[in-house]
């Protein structure tokens, strides 16, 4: 695969639609049909192919829009980020394989990293030279990270010795670095004493054991840390500092990452309808009143999610803190998509080799999508955690009577 990376980015100040038009044009000219899930040519890209594609997207101005230019970004605003996401969402390209770096590790490093760390890590994330995984969850600490047990003890030479186990770590086997959350004290310290590191995954003592998930993939893993020695310059901030910054970053990221989702869901819905239309037997389903009504409901839900995202961008552009509002979009997108995938699966699951080729492609897409969607209400904070956050931090519901 080769892509046009000799791109002059438009100045968004000259024309409000310029950046979105640029993204639309570049994607139309460069995204191969083999990377489009609604194409009969589609095939899952290899890791190397995905890296090359995402690196090209970055060069074309479609990744790292809001990152400062000195760290490899494009120095633009959330408005351009959103404009690009709308076009990225409109095409059924594979999910990013570098999202942990771009949407989590990068922003955390930007917030608390030293200048040397920023200069080293940030450009490499955008060029896809470094892949990252997220080492937060543990067997005893899923939603409740206060129960984290992985321990970092500083040694006389300043380095840190880490012991513990992480689990449900997406992309661990292919990652170059881990954004590792540890504690310096004991579990009794709860949220105090948390310490973050940028750990090379080839450090002696790190062992990755893949876990097979219900969608048949083995993209997440258990990661064991046995007497792993980490240099002090891999530390991200002081104890407590890195973690509290990460919490702030995460609340922003929850609102801003993968903004393309509602536009992607809309593209998936189009694919579902096109696949059904492509086969006379299946097309009959689209004449059923309850199917039409359910599609109308899904379109309505998608518009609501678009509204939440666009309003959040306008608020942030106006300088308003995003606070806990990312929980609204997380709860909304995960449950909207999970429900949509269930509906799509019901419509498409009966497809046989006698049906159209596009319907068979759709059956694969939506069956995998249905299974993967089970995870959507679990990862990045379960629906119950999001409801807790909304109740506590947005509605300010008391748990005791006010005096």
């Amino acid at each position: 695969m080769s892509f046009d990376t000799n791109v002059t980015l438009p100045d968004p100040a000259t024309d409000r639609g310029a950046f979105r038009a640029h993204a639309r044009k570049w994607l139309a000219e460069n995204l191969p049909s083999t990377l489009q899930a609604d194409s009969l040519d589609f095939k899952y890209p290899s890791l190397e192919e995905a890296r090359v594609w995402e690196a090209a997207m970055h060069k074309a101005g479609l990744w790292g829009m809001t990152w400062p230019k000195e760290y490899g970004g494009h120095g633009l605003s959330l408005r351009e980020h959103l404009a690009v996401n709308k076009e990225v969402g409109a095409l059924l390209m594979p999910e990013s394989v570098g999202s942990i770096g771009k949407e989590l590790a990068g922003p955390v490093i930007m917030a608390v990293g030293t200048e040397a760390q920023k200069n080293h890590f940030l450009p490499n994330i955008l060029t896809m030279s470094h892949m990252w995984c997220q080492g937060f969850s543990e067997p005893e600490a899923g939603s409740d990270l206060a129960r984290l047990r992985t321990r970092a003890v500083q040694q006389e030479d300043g380095s840190w010795r880490v012991n513990g186990q992480k689990i449900w770590t997406s992309g661990a086997a292919k990652a170059d670095y881990c954004l590792l959350l540890t504690r310096t004290g004991t579990v009794a310290d709860k949220h105090r004493g948390m310490l973050m590191f940028a750990v090379p995954m080839n450090t002696p003592g790190i062992r990755v054991v893949n876990i097979k998930s219900i969608d048949g993939k083995d993209s997440f893993a258990e990661v064991f840390f046995d007497d792993v020695v980490i240099a002090d310059d891999a530390r991200l901030g002081a104890p407590d500092e890195g973690w509290s910054a990460a919490i702030r970053v995460l609340s922003i990221e929850r609102a801003t990452n993968r903004m393309y989702r509602p536009w992607r869901f809309e593209a998936e819905l189009k694919f579902l309808v096109k696949a059904l239309k492509s086969d006379p037997d299946l097309a009959q389903k689209l004449e059923e009143a309850d199917v039409q009504k359910r599609i109308g409901q899904i379109v309505t839900e998608i518009d609501g999610l678009k509204g939440l995202i666009e309003r959040a961008v306008d608020q942030m552009m106006g300088g308003a803190p995003i606070g806990a509002r990312g929980s609204l979009s997380k709860l909304s997108w995960s449950e909207t998509h999970q429900s949509f995938m269930g509906f799509a699966y019901e419509l498409i699951s009966g497809v046989t080799p006698l049906n159209s080729a596009l319907a068979q492609r759709a059956k694969k897409h939506f069956t995998t999508g249905y299974l993967f969607a089970r995870a959507e209400t679990i990862y990045a904070g379960t629906s119950e955690v999001q409801c807790d956050i909304i109740a506590q931090r947005i509605l300010n519901l008391p748990t005791e009577l006010k005096a």
Partner: protein, 316 residues
């Protein structure tokens, strides 16, 4: 008046004060609302209005829903705007007439139905061919349909001998229906917001098992989902009123269907969360329940949702 120096949100506070004033003087509701200028926001300046777009009437309608105003304010606003420059438009704007809209029937069919507050209104808009006619309700007999709402029944009228006061052509009627969609979405979003806020306040004070009910996770999660639905509904309407990056306008239909499905969910849940109190007429939650269900029926929300799906299928 220029739109540039104002934002629609600034109208919410003024509308709220006027609506509270109107509710404290039930015999003078229409006069108070007219005097406060709530019917004139989106009427042309040349015809006595403020000359602002329909988006500036959104906070007025939303506040009316939130405060459970029992007056056909959406109908009054859109009729005053549609008939601006006519004798009837001036009367609607100034509060000399109360207007309603029949969402079923037609002049040529000889009947009009699903008109809110028709038993107390003075004029009613009814479809006529591709356009619509404003008829004098004194010229017809209105039968109250009090099945759902005895205090503010919908109306049914047989139109033989109806006096037509003014007419809208097809384009004018289409523009009015767009305004109706927008402002009813805002009204029911307000109803949902009001029901949610009343529930959150009540549950923070209602002590059972030694703690406020808002301490219970099941209750907190209900309220969180009510908040999510209401925020999404408000954001959906806001988005529908804004052009996209290419200065293209957006469809508004999902703003109404989404607002209605959320409002029904939120208000019904609010009744439930108030426990036995929620089932009493003493608590005014039932007004919002009746209002959102009447609007849902009047505008045929289920059929509209299906039409949105059908349109998506056809376009895909």
């Amino acid at each position: 008046m220029s739109d540039d120096s104002l934002s629609p949100e600034e109208f919410a506070e003024a509308a709220g004060a006027a609506i509270l004033d109107a509710q404290s003087r039930p015999d003078a509701t229409r006069d108070v609302l007219a005097e406060a200028g709530l019917f004139s926001v989106s009427v042309d300046e040349d015809h006595g209005g403020m000359g602002l777009g329909i988006a500036f009437s959104v906070p007025v309608a939303q506040t009316a829903g939130e405060k459970q105003l029992r007056f056909p304010i959406v109908e009054q606003i859109v009729l005053a705007r549609a008939f601006a420059g006519t004798e009837q438009g001036e009367a609607l704007l100034g509060g000399a007439l109360t207007g309603t809209i029949a969402f079923a029937g037609a002049l040529e069919a000889g009947f009009a139905a699903r008109a809110a507050f028709a038993t107390t209104a003075d004029v009613m808009l009814v479809a006529e061919g591709e356009g619509a006619a404003l008829i004098d309700l004194a010229s017809v007999t209105v039968e109250a349909d009090a099945t759902l709402d005895p205090e503010a029944p919908s109306g049914f009228a047989r139109l033989e001998g109806a006096t037509v006061l003014a007419r809208l052509d097809a384009a004018g009627y289409a523009a009015l229906k767009r305004d109706v969609t927008i402002l009813f979405a805002a009204f029911v979003n307000g109803a949902a917001e009001g029901a949610l806020n009343r529930s959150a306040e009540y549950l923070a004070q209602r002590v059972q098992f030694g703690r406020p009910l808002s301490a219970k996770q099941a209750v907190r999660h209900h309220l969180a989902r009510m908040k999510l639905g209401t925020e999404a509904a408000i954001a959906r309407l806001r988005r529908a009123l804004l052009d996209n990056e290419f200065a293209e306008s957006r469809a508004i239909e999902t703003a109404l269907t989404g607002a209605l499905s959320n409002a029904v969910f939120v208000v019904e849940k609010a009744v439930h969360l108030h426990g036995g109190m929620g089932f009493t007429e003493e608590l005014p939650l039932h007004y919002s329940l009746r209002d959102v269900r009447k609007i849902e029926t009047a505008l045929q929300a289920g059929a509209q949702t299906r039409a949105i799906g059908r349109a998506f299928i056809d376009a895909a």
